[in-house]
């Protein structure tokens, strides 16, 4: 693949987004174009993976300007893997949004395309300032998507959620921007290849880059700056929650991996801070999840815990640790989106995601139940799903790096993970549907989750849900099923992705290919 095609990953979706607005409200045209462009982006990612099977990197400075002035795009195995998984998730979530009528707004397709441009750009850029710009390009459509709804159907609660989301992201972006300013002031450049290793030698640069990393970890929702995620994400629509969970926090995590590998050159002095904070992230996130009582807020809080796992890979900074971290990142994006989409399908058809107000889904929606079950077990790390491979390799990596305490924390948190998944399982799927829900509270055999669900207001709602015929059609169930299928494949054929992740990790440990590619572009 020619390096000069890399900017197309950004240019194509962006131009199409503009054109779709010009051509106005034509639903069929919008859908066709959206999926064509997303498919092309995904295909490009796959081509890049094939390109980098033996390592290496490709870079292109837009307009052939000299290094430091040009807008640099660079791709290696890590980028390619991320491009493929984010592309898959965008396609799947867009399909879900269309089926659930969430995508019926005329601005939906252009916004998704602009979002894709931002995500691809943030993954491909080799320049800190451009990273800021692309994250903004990614966030601006997200703000609109956050409260986008079929005309007039958005609940007011979503506006409050959007206020929190926009405010937090603006604050974070400003912090990142100040960090970039400091980097330029101390190092005289913001090009990652020119900055390579500088933070290890120069304390002032290290501080400046640390500010950028701090901003990225707010976006990634690591403890102690995680509070926004569990409050903001459940307020938007299910399709968008799934999409954001797969893209936004993960782009920030990608940024942390990349910046620490290139600019800090994996400096071992600061790694203990990461190990400590990310172990805390795992523990606090999972306990927060157990305390919630709607499906999406449990899953969102739970994401915080999983982010701890993913970031532990970079805090270990060994080849094994980075490989496991990257594998975990890719696995998590797929599984989490699957969970959000399967519970989202129930929320769309039955009108509520609250535990206890929708019950007996195992009988009524066996397919959705099976999908949720697979994804939940994968998340908890039960074989033969991808979560097992991810967790096992991460635990082995941390023991290998001498962080036995971190390994113990991981195993314990896994158990609580299973508990929080069981809470959804027992609350939504397993509980038998009863005509009189008030009996539930008195029933001693039901799970402990039930007494917390005294919501008399929703009783009338529950009473109407008596249909035995599945209400969730194949089209609505398919997105989460596809993702669940991927987690099974990745679990059984984990060797393949582990090999690719190892190549990606090698690219982070030895950044010379990356630097040479950027400097030579």
């Amino acid at each position: 693949m020619i390096a000069s095609t890399l900017p197309l990953f950004v240019a194509l979706p962006l131009i199409t987004a503009g054109l779709l607005i010009v051509f106005g409200d034509r639903p069929l045209l919008h859908r066709l174009t959206l999926f064509t462009i997303l498919g092309a982006s995904l295909l490009g990612g796959i081509v890049l993976i094939l390109e980098f099977v033996d390592g290496g990197a490709l870079a292109h400075g837009v307009g052939m300007w000299p290094v430091g002035i040009a807008i640099p795009f660079v791709a290696d195995m890590f980028t390619a893997l991320m491009l493929v998984v984010t592309g898959t998730l965008t396609i799947v979530c867009a399909a879900f949004a269309y089926v659930s009528q969430q995508g019926s707004n005329r601005f939906f397709a252009p916004l998704i395309l602009a979002l894709t441009a931002g995500v691809n750009g943030a993954l491909l850029t080799a320049d800190l300032f451009n990273l800021f710009v692309f994250i903004e390009v990614m966030l601006l459509p997200s703000y609109a998507l956050f409260f986008l709804a079929p005309s007039g159907k958005a609940p007011l609660r979503r506006i409050a959620g959007a206020r929190l989301y926009v405010t937090l992201n603006l604050l974070t972006s400003t912090i990142f921007l100040v960090g970039v300013g400091f980097v330029y002031g101390t190092a005289g450049t913001v090009n990652m290849a020119e900055l390579a290793g500088l933070a290890k030698e120069n304390g002032a640069v290290a501080f400046a880059v640390a500010l950028c990393l701090f901003a990225l970890s707010i976006k990634a929702a690591a403890v102690p700056v995680h509070g926004w995620l569990a409050r903001a994400y459940p307020t938007t629509s299910p399709a968008i929650t799934a999409l954001f969970s797969g893209l936004h926090t993960k782009v920030a995590i990608y940024g942390i991996y990349r910046i620490y590998a290139v600019i800090f050159d994996g400096d071992a002095t600061y790694l203990w801070v990461g190990v400590l904070l990310f172990c805390l992230t795992m523990v606090l996130g999972v306990f927060g999840a157990v305390g919630e009582n709607t499906t999406r807020s449990i899953l969102a809080f739970h994401m915080v815990s999983q982010i701890g796992y993913i970031l532990l890979g970079v805090a270990l900074f060994t080849e094994l640790g980075l490989t496991a971290g990257i594998f975990y990142l890719l696995h998590h994006m797929i599984v989490k989106a699957s969970l959000f989409l399967s519970t989202g399908a129930i929320e769309v058809r039955y009108g509520s995601g609250q535990l206890g107000s929708v019950t007996g889904m195992l009988k009524k929606e066996p397919w959705i139940a099976a999908t949720f079950f697979i994804a939940a077990l994968s998340l908890a790390g039960i074989p033969p799903f991808s979560g097992f491979v991810a967790k096992l390799s991460l635990i082995m990596a941390s023991i290998d790096a001498g962080q036995v305490a971190a390994a113990v924390v991981m195993v314990l948190v896994s158990l609580v993970t299973l508990l929080s998944m069981l809470k959804i399982w027992s609350g939504v799927f397993w509980t038998k549907h009863k005509a009189n829900p008030s009996l539930d509270d008195a029933d001693p055999t039901t799970f402990a989750a039930i007494p917390a669900l005294e919501t008399p207001s929703s009783d009338s709602d529950t009473a109407t849900v008596v249909a035995t015929r599945p209400r969730i059609g194949l089209a609505l169930a398919a997105p989460s099923m596809v993702l669940a299928l991927i987690t099974i494949c990745l679990g059984l054929g984990g060797e393949l992705l582990l090999g690719l992740a190892e190549t990606a990790a090698a690219g982070l440990l030895d950044t010379s290919f990356y630097i040479q590619a950027v400097m030579g572009s």
């Binding site: 459509p141 970039v180 919501t455």
Partner: protein
Amino acid sequence: MTLAITAGILVAGAVYLLLKPEMLRIILGFVLLSHAANLIIMAAGNSSRREEPFGTFTDLTNAADPLPQAFVLTAIVIAFSITVLMLVLAVTGKNDDNTSVSPPTDADDAAPQATDDAAATTPGDDAATAPTTTQEPTS
């Protein structure tokens, strides 16, 4: 030094406003904060020992660094567009000062139909905000 002090004062004012409960004050706080960020970037271009980029300069080493100015230009546009969006969010809905997310267990989650009449004010915001945000990346 002047730049540093100005940025410091702006940040202090911004933090004070951000801690206030009302959305409008928070927005004003962000206006101050983004100005402070822009001044910091300007300062990063070594403005203390350099002169203006146009007009009287003779020596390129003394001319102001154009790169931070390009950064600031980009950052201003982004901050401006988000400020507009936040202003729209501030006036949308009944309770214009509510920045807290009500717990997801409240009634409108269990029965989305019930909020339809309450949400009748929102079509205006869809129409008003979506173009603002979509134009931004393409420009």
